[in-house]
């Protein structure tokens, strides 16, 4: 059985490896959520070439699995759905459709917040 501290560690890594990095460019998009042209390629890399060319959803699945096996959490389900939505929008994003890019920014920030919240909660729940 994985000790709670290991769970917290896994969640912290997931928050770092996925949450932090998917939101890299999103943090620098103006409040209007209109993505400036020079940032579009960076945003696409954050979401679809996150780690050694793998998309964020793939990196997430790898990191989330050992956590869910021990302690399922609705936030992981929510993040999976959000990343799925991103994957479905990839063609529009690569076509620089403004609405798709804006939505991607919102999703990236939400994914980061959800994963950070999970990491914090699991750390606090340590004995």
């Amino acid at each position: 059985m994985t000790a709670p501290s290991d769970l917290a560690r896994l969640a912290a890594r997931l928050s770092h490896d996925v949450g932090k990095y998917v939101a890299r460019t999103a943090h620098n998009v103006p409040a209007s959520r209109v993505v400036p042209e020079p940032l579009v390629d960076m945003l696409l890399k954050d979401l679809f070439e996150l780690d050694r060319g793998r998309r964020a959803s793939s990196v997430f699945e790898e990191g989330a699995r050992p956590i869910e096996e021990r302690r399922p959490d609705p936030r992981l389900v929510e993040v999976r759905a959000l990343l799925g939505e991103l994957d479905a929008m990839e063609a529009d994003m690569r076509a620089h459709v403004p609405e798709a890019l804006s939505r991607a920014v919102a999703i990236a920030l939400e994914v980061e917040a959800l994963l950070r919240g999970l990491a914090v909660d699991l750390e606090r729940s340590e004995p």
Binding site: A12, H16, T25, H27, M42, D51, V120
Partner: protein, 556 residues
């Protein structure tokens, strides 16, 4: 600071940070390995170019060799690179080595460039769960980017802060800005106002560091060649204020001697009038005249003379209220440039800066004076080499190769962050000094009695959580005084013309000096004479206050 753009070295296994920096941090130049002229983002070879930053430790070495003019390093922590490119380590877990390679690179870099500022692109929260991260220390040259790592605007401000710290005068006097938005604004406004001819009004609760801001930031940033002088107007008897500020001619009044005056002494420099609200009405009029004309007239003379002084005024009082009540001239208040006043937030409103402030105070405590001598004697006793210097580590055991490192636990840090800090950063600086001096004194005793472990391990000195708790709870309130009247032989003297604050402080000093002599320096006995409760704990409080009043006694 020179006019050139600061040069940044980005150390990252991938392109994340360098891309971000190139796209959004355009005020900086970048160290490149190709050495083509111009910043990276204007380089025509940029598309697909991989030569924009260091990807591992050997490339850091190469960058340092090629670029002797680096100003700051942005360093990632996790490096997903082949094992052969990782720095050698005894850690068997390859994954862990990769996740913390940045810290190994930091240590590696420190050996070559001891004082090059490094911004680690991580947060304390990310590091906390990594066992091996305990080697990270919060010294004055390492800054954690925290949540600013990917926010280019915040990161830019952070880099500015790091750079500003680098040009400040001395390690013992560096102004710690922290990272709160209010302090970032304060820094920008202070350095802007410093370069103008306008007076500067500095507001803030007691102990927030108004004088430090004036001397270490505004005077330095002003670039004025003259001296920095400060005067606490609450400590000057009202009848002497004019003479102190403007000078006197011999015979100006009964007993008057030739006196230059602070305005003339501060010519071409900076003069801080602390507690400006205490200025007597007639001197307010004289100050107003000086601000209007740029000239002063010594008491007893009719001819005026020109002075070139950057005037700073500070107070923790309600100056606007004093104007409304008629105690402060409205025309003088208007001349002090109140619309651009600088307000230093209390420590409780910038508690996120506490760890950084604490590290700065620990370093400053042992920068000079008797505390440095005590540290030097410790190094001698324990046969450690190197100069006496101190830094602060937070968390588990940390290693250092020079000076000593004081370590406080995370629960202690949390306790400090939960404290209200009515005395603000001054209170924190006193706590930092007392906690580390007490811990050092215990370490010295252990070494002298042969109880200390020999070798490099004694470079790490833990600050006990109990000591931190005691210092936090130390206060000097009347209800703790036990049986007043049992103080034989105590006959205090009062200085004529002193303010109430001075009288109280002076009485306190005389009382403690009297008890110190009476009890032969036995703090436990002094505590018994003064307070009820645990004499050992009270002895620490008495000793703390003893130190706070400048009555320092080292040793046992």
């Amino acid at each position: 600071m020179t006019g050139r753009r600061p040069k940044v070295l980005v150390v990252d296994d991938g392109d994340r940070y360098v891309e971000l920096a190139h796209a959004l941090l355009r005020d900086y130049d970048y160290a490149t390995r190709c050495d083509l002229p111009g910043p990276c983002w204007t380089c025509e070879r940029r598309p697909g170019c991989q030569l924009t930053h260091a990807h591992d430790a050997p490339e850091v070495d190469e960058a340092l060799r090629r670029h002797r003019d680096l100003d700051v390093v942005l360093l990632d922590v996790a490096f997903d690179i082949p094992e052969a490119r990782l720095l050698p380590s005894a850690e068997p877990d390859l994954e862990k080595r990769r996740r913390l390679q940045g810290l190994a690179i930091l240590n590696h870099l420190r050996r070559a460039e001891k004082e090059l500022p490094v911004v680690l692109m991580t947060s304390l929260a990310e590091l906390e769960l990594e066992d091996a991260a305990s080697g990270l220390t919060a010294d004055e040259y390492v800054t954690l980017a925290g949540t600013d790592a990917f926010d280019a605007r915040a990161l830019g401000l952070l880099i500015e802060r790091v750079l500003s710290r680098r040009v400040l005068p001395s390690p013992g006097g560096a102004y710690v800005w922290g990272s709160t938005p209010a302090m970032a604004r304060l820094r920008r406004d202070a350095t802007t106002l410093a370069r103008t001819s306008l007076p500067v009004l500095i507001l803030g609760e007691t102990g927030t560091g108004k004088s430090a801001l004036a001397e270490q930031v505004i005077h330095v940033a002003s670039g004025r060649p003259g001296p920095f002088l400060a005067v606490d107007l609450s400590a000057i008897p009202p009848q002497l204020a004019a003479a102190e500020l403007f000078g006197t001619a011999r015979g100006a009044f009964s007993g008057a001697v030739e006196r230059t005056g602070l305005f003339a002494e501060a010519d071409r420099g900076t003069l801080l009038l602390d507690e400006i609200g205490n200025l007597p009405p007639d001197v307010q009029r004289m100050l107003l005249l000086t601000l209007q004309t740029g000239r002063i007239t010594r008491l007893g003379e009719s001819a005026s003379r020109a002075v070139d002084v950057k005037l700073l005024a500070a107070t923790n009082a309600d100056l606007e209220g004093a104007v409304r009540d008629g105690r402060f001239r409205p025309d003088l208040y208007a001349r002090l440039n109140p619309s651009a006043r600088l307000v230093i937030p209390p420590l409780r409103e910038r508690i996120g800066d506490l760890a950084e402030l604490l590290a700065g105070f620990v370093s400053a405590t042992f920068h000079s004076g008797p505390d440095r001598e005590l540290l030097a004697s410790y190094l001698r006793t324990t046969a450690l080499s190197g100069l006496p210097s101190a830094s602060l580590g937070i968390g588990r055991a940390v290693e250092t190769t020079e000076g000593v490192k004081f370590v406080i636990s995370r629960p202690s840090l949390r306790a400090l962050e939960s404290h209200a800090w009515p005395g603000n950063v001054r209170e924190l600086s006193m706590l930092a000094a007392n906690a580390t001096v007490f811990a050092l004194a215990d370490a010295v005793r252990a070494a002298e009695e042969g109880r200390a472990v020999v070798g490099e391990a004694v470079r790490t000195i833990p600050v006990p959580a109990r000591l931190v708790r005691e210092l936090l709870s130390a206060s000097w309130s009347a209800e703790r005084v036990a049986e007043p009247g049992r103080l034989p032989g105590f006959a205090p003297t009062l200085a004529a013309g002193a303010s109430l604050r001075e009288v109280v402080r002076d009485m306190e000093k005389q009382l403690l000096e009297h008890l110190f002599r009476l009890h032969g320096g036995d703090f436990v006995a002094m505590a018994r004479a003064l307070m009820t409760g645990d004499p050992e704990a009270n002895a620490r409080r008495v000793r703390l206050r003893f130190n706070q009043l400048g009555l320092r006694v080292r040793g046992r």
